[in-house]
């Protein structure tokens, strides 16, 4: 009995010390490889910074538009003044014809055209509905939104004023006219990101995606390099001390986890604080989300690494996924309008859940229970990819063991020829 205990203890001790050895070795190789160091330490530092600078202005204000005023009356001029007063629009040109305005648009001097019809003033006077046409440039969603929202709200407001004026003329009191034209007051409120800032919306999601993408690329590059370095083209070196599936997977994972745990303080702590992005998520919430995210992304990377036969392969075969993953996350394209097929594809990537979960916690102030679905999905993926990573390493180890044993029995030259 005592013998079994001491034997088990001994085995356990050697497993732990070997795991620590693998961890140490992985860290050492990681940090001595310039390409991987750039990917792990420089890219996550530089990208958020660069994006923050590019999106620094955050919102689109004073969109240059041209007005074609065919009515040329006091009424139409009052309408134009109101348009110009909105923060969204800047009436840069007053053109005499649609051709002139369109000509300026072709040269990109304006980004939209507002056409006030000839009959504007008479329509109003005769009690007919006056139609103001908005022609929006669709080059950018933000332009389109600024144009439609800006001009649309002014139209509603202007209509309201005209209506109140008429009711006053009809002999109603000011209060009566107001109540009559607005039976109830409408108040729209933004939850999160009230200014509609682009950086506050895009960068937190991008941070999450960068974490997974750099991790998978780095793990893939390491695996490809390992295959190039090992003479037999195997994923793992021929060192019997390191031939345990669990110690292999856990030792390597620990190295990546350590680096990214440290990077998270910069990416999720410093960047939002410096640039004023939403930071409603508390420390415990971030831990609840980031631990399964990092683990699932690392195991995902280790599982994929079996496909990368050379150092360059991950860049060729995996990098492009960054764009589809961005669109699959649910940040850009609403999940309610995604086809079931893409929903399934979406759910196998850790980044999808982490991006949405982070936005919920950080911008909307969701708690751990409200992010429960995302966190649960991340743990499921962690378990799933842990198993696949172990299977990958198990088969690799069996392969190497076989090769090594053969090498022991046979002539060395034969192995070299392999």
């Amino acid at each position: 009995m005592k013998k079994i205990i001491s034997k088990t203890f001994k085995r356990f001790k050697s497993a732990v010390s070997n795991t620590a050895l693998i961890f140490q070795r992985e860290l050492l190789i990681l940090l001595s490889d310039l390409g991987v160091t750039i990917l792990l330490l420089i890219v996550p530092v530089v990208y958020p910074f660069l994006y923050s600078l590019i999106y620094y202005p955050e919102v689109v204000r004073d969109l240059p538009v041209a007005v074609v005023d065919l009515s040329r009356t006091a009424d139409s001029r009052a309408f134009i003044r109101k348009l110009n007063a909105t923060p969204d629009l800047d009436i840069r040109y007053e053109c005499i014809s649609m051709e002139e305005a369109a000509g300026k648009f072709r040269k990109r001097e304006n980004r939209g055209i507002i056409l006030i019809p000839e009959t504007y003033s008479s329509d109003l006077a005769l009690g007919r509905q006056a139609v103001v046409s908005l022609y929006a440039d669709m080059e950018f969603f933000l332009y389109y939104k600024a144009m439609v929202m800006g001009a649309g709200l002014v139209s509603i407001e202007e209509g309201n004023d005209i209506q109140v004026k008429r009711l006053l003329n009809a002999g109603l009191s000011e209060r009566q006219a107001e109540v009559f034209s607005n039976p109830f007051v409408i108040s729209g409120n933004a939850i999160a990101n009230p200014a509609g800032g682009f950086a506050s919306y895009g960068i937190p999601a991008a941070l999450m995606l960068i974490i997974q993408q750099t991790l998978v690329l780095a793990i893939g590059i390491m695996a490809g390099t390992a295959r190039e370095r090992h003479k037999l083209g195997t994923l793992i070196p021929c060192d019997l001390r390191r031939m345990g599936t669990f110690r292999m997977v856990l030792g390597k994972s620990a190295a990546y986890f350590l680096i990214y745990a440290l990077m998270c303080f910069y990416m999720l702590g410093a960047i939002p604080a410096w640039f004023g992005y939403p930071d409603q998520a508390g420390f415990s919430q971030l831990i609840a989300l980031m631990v399964p995210y990092l683990l699932s992304a690392i195991f995902f990377g280790l599982s994929l690494s079996v496909f990368f036969k050379n150092r360059e392969t991950p860049m060729l075969l995996y990098l492009f996924l960054s764009f589809p993953l961005l669109f699959l996350s649910g940040i850009i394209w609403p999940l309610s309008n995604m086809s079931p097929v893409w929903q399934v594809v979406r759910s196998i990537f850790p980044s999808s859940h982490a991006m949405l979960g982070y936005i919920k916690m950080n911008s909307l102030g969701a708690g751990i229970s409200e992010t429960g679905h995302e966190i649960a999905m991340l743990w499921i993926l962690t378990a799933f990819y842990f198993v696949t990573a172990c299977l990958v390493y198990k088969t690799q180890i069996t392969k190497v063991k076989k090769l090594v044993l053969n090498a022991g029995h046979q002539d060395n030259s034969l192995v070299t020829a392999l």
Binding site: M138, V148, I162, V185, N193, H230, L232, L319, S322
Partner: protein, 409 residues
Amino acid sequence: MNTYIKALIGVTGREINRMTSRPLYFLSVVILPLLSLLFFVSLMKEGVPVKLPVAVVDYDHTALSAKFRRTIDATPGSSVVMTPATEHEALSELRKGNIYGYVVLPHNLQADIMNGTQPVVRFYYQNGLLIAGGLIQNDLTITLHTLSAGVNKQKREAMGQNEVSVYAEIQPVKPDAHLLFNPETNYPVYVTSIMLPIMLQVFILMITVYSIGIEIKERTSREWLRKAGKSVFVALTGKLLPYTVIFVILSLFSNFLLFKALMVPVNTGVVYLVLLSLLYVLAYQAIAVFFVGLLPMMRHSLNLAAFYGILALTLCGFSFPIEHMPEVFRLWAEAFPVRHYMHIFQSQILAGFNFVYAAPSYLKFLLFLLLPFAIIFRLKSALIYQNFIEQIKITDAAEAAVSEKSLIQ
């Protein structure tokens, strides 16, 4: 001249041989680009997101509040998926991501409207997700104004006004929004038209850098150069030609998808489409050659190409307008062919403007083609002297095994 053409054909043949020798090429030149194109075409082909889930918190429980709920549900933009009892619950559902917005109908809504005390109807939209938030904001604003007008109309009709003048009275000015020059196209389709070339450029950059860099890494560059009659120009042209053909076909295929599957209007001839695709592919190949010349060690040039390729999404300026970026980045944006592609695509193909308006962008494409000349000698010397090769320490498995065995025994 004849010898040059012979050499060119020889190099192209050699490259096609190389391309068919490994599945890697087939994957990254044909399969993955095709999958990406189909992904983007299928993801947003439905057009503007419709029936986004919202909630109505009804504290009033009257006929009027029920009518409000039905009207919101009936709008094309939103669909009422739940009626939580409290605002607190609604906010929690929004945080969970089940709804994108909610409307709060206060106590005594119907009574207050009837006796003219102007109750406040609040609505909330999730602006952390900009597009869904914007759509909900727009939809609920319009719906509630319509409802307000409806109440107004009922009152007026009760006063005996006829219907035509009622509309003019409650909404004297009606805004009527169009998309300039493309009334039929919607925004998601438009996003797709930009994402397709962005996906292609990633593949063009990576495979071009790889196909040249691998010759240096695997020390086959001298043989390659010999085959090209020692002309680096012939060597590059011959090598890149098969890729040019494939990517031009892919680019034309992506346009075909846009026009046939997504019904984007095309207002220009096929000649311009082919010219645009050709210039686009060539520009990116030229940039990739420039990267390899600059950093002949493949691991570094691939990193550089990846950095540049990923930034294209941001700096082509469709997510956020270039005009509103800091000055430095406006200049940066000029260095991305996809930005010029976008200009030409919008002005010439979508809007059908005259060639003159797109001409500056065509000229800029030509400037990209000059880039390889800046590094051509550096690249040639790297190909000849192979002095940019990373040292790989090869562990001898057999040796390790033997020493391992002796350790164990």
